[in-house]
Amino acid sequence: MKFFTVVLASLMGLITITIATDAEAYWHGYRGGWRGDPGWRGAGWGGCYRCGPGWGPVGFVGGAAAVETAEVVAAESRPTVIYENPPVVIAQQTQVPVLASPGAIASGAMVEGSIPPVGATYPNLLPGCVLAPRNGINFYQCQGFRMRPLYGGNSFYYRVVPG
């Protein structure tokens, strides 16, 4: 019995080591083309409400999150972007969505007068925002919040920032 249990333990240990070993770390590395990432989405554009998060450059914040102004304070403590969003839900929850552009419906529409949470990102500048540089950094001042243009994930996007 003792011999059997020791052999069993050894076999389990061997399985662990075998599975945990990943000699082909190559696949984890730098990506593109053959190197292993399907994520080439190119320029950010919008317009397909049903296409899913693949339709665009970044993980867009959802309108549903953006319009819940009561949650803004709590949302500010969130570390970064909130991934979410069937745009269809946005349309149901917001009676009068104001779209940044025809493509914005796929990327997080927001209700007029609401303040999106810090960290929310949009592929297009929201309506009513004007360029307002501060300390040598280009921001856009919107109604009650600021957005900063940035480039990442193969496209430009606008991130809601504190201040």
Partner: protein, 268 residues
């Protein structure tokens, strides 16, 4: 009686090992293709002739002082229903060794441009009138790696234009074989070569005479939906003169300056 608790203890240890192993399996989330049937003895998983063609292609690209080509990329992503949707972008790429590249990407929306002029990395959008800029390492390989690390930037064909594309294409390769010739791809006669590794499988069409790639199509096994991306390469120009204006950043001078940042990373 004394043996029984010891057995239980050992069994618990064994189960914990098994649990750890299973957890590792789940966390990797990298489904692989199902085990293939055993090949007949006279067939090698990696055919030397296939490797030879890949080597010729990469030598042709690796030896070029300048490279220009266009690429049409079609990538599948699931809709909210889970149905694959194909997205198409086009890219125009120019590279001048040792330290310059420019990539203009057009989609069905705003276009983007990436420029590495040997010192700085730029991303520019004419529609948004924005330019992101950053100091950059001074070689093409290092700048491409920097662009990826800094902002998740990669572009179609970037795996072909680095200094050692053969190494990139063959690392982790488990299978490679030639399916035959085709006259239907790229307007030239091509060899069709199947390639497979742990993370992806696909096919590449390489020109019989010029050894340049004209199409590639990859299935990504690391994604449970196994999406396919197909890249068409065309209008190759090897060692042709590229206008210095192509690598001149002055055309971005009137754009609003900003920075690179991954969408999901905190800002400085």
């Amino acid at each position: 009686m004394r043996l029984f608790p010891r057995f239980l203890l050992t069994l618990l240890v064994s189960l914990s090992f098994l649990g750890a192993a299973l957890a590792q399996t789940n966390s990797s989330k990298r489904p692989e293709s199902s085990p293939r049937p055993t090949l007949p003895k006279n067939i090698k998983p990696i055919e030397p002739e296939a490797l030879s063609l890949i080597k010729k292609m990469t030598q042709t690209l690796g030896a070029a002082k300048t490279i220009q080509f266009e690429s049409i990329v079609q990538s599948e992503f699931p809709s909210i229903d889970g149905i694959p949707v194909i997205y198409t972008t086009a890219a125009n790429i120019a590279l001048q060794r040792p330290n310059k590249f420019n990539v203009v990407v057009r989609g069905d929306g705003p276009s983007n441009e990436i420029l590495f002029n040997g010192k700085k990395l730029f991303a520019y959008s004419p529609e948004k009138n924005l330019v992101a800029m950053s100091e950059s390492p001074n070689s093409i390989d290092a700048a491409a790696q920097f662009a990826y690390d800094k902002a998740g930037i990669f572009f179609p064909g970037d795996d072909l234009v680095l200094s050692n594309p053969y190494e990139h294409l063959t690392a982790g390769l488990t299978d490679a074989f030639i399916t035959g010739k085709s006259k239907l791809i790229g307007g030239v006669e091509t060899y069709s070569i199947v390639m497979a590794g742990r993370g992806l499988q696909g096919q590449i069409w390489i020109g019989v005479k010029d050894h340049l790639p004209y199409m590639a199509s990859w299935i990504y096994l690391g994604d449970k939906a196994h999406p396919r991306t197909t890249l068409v390469y065309k209008n190759w120009k090897i060692d042709s003169l590229i206008s210095p204006d192509r690598f001149n950043s002055n055309r971005f001078a009137k754009a609003i300056v900003t920075e690179f940042a991954q969408p999901n990373t905190p800002l400085n």
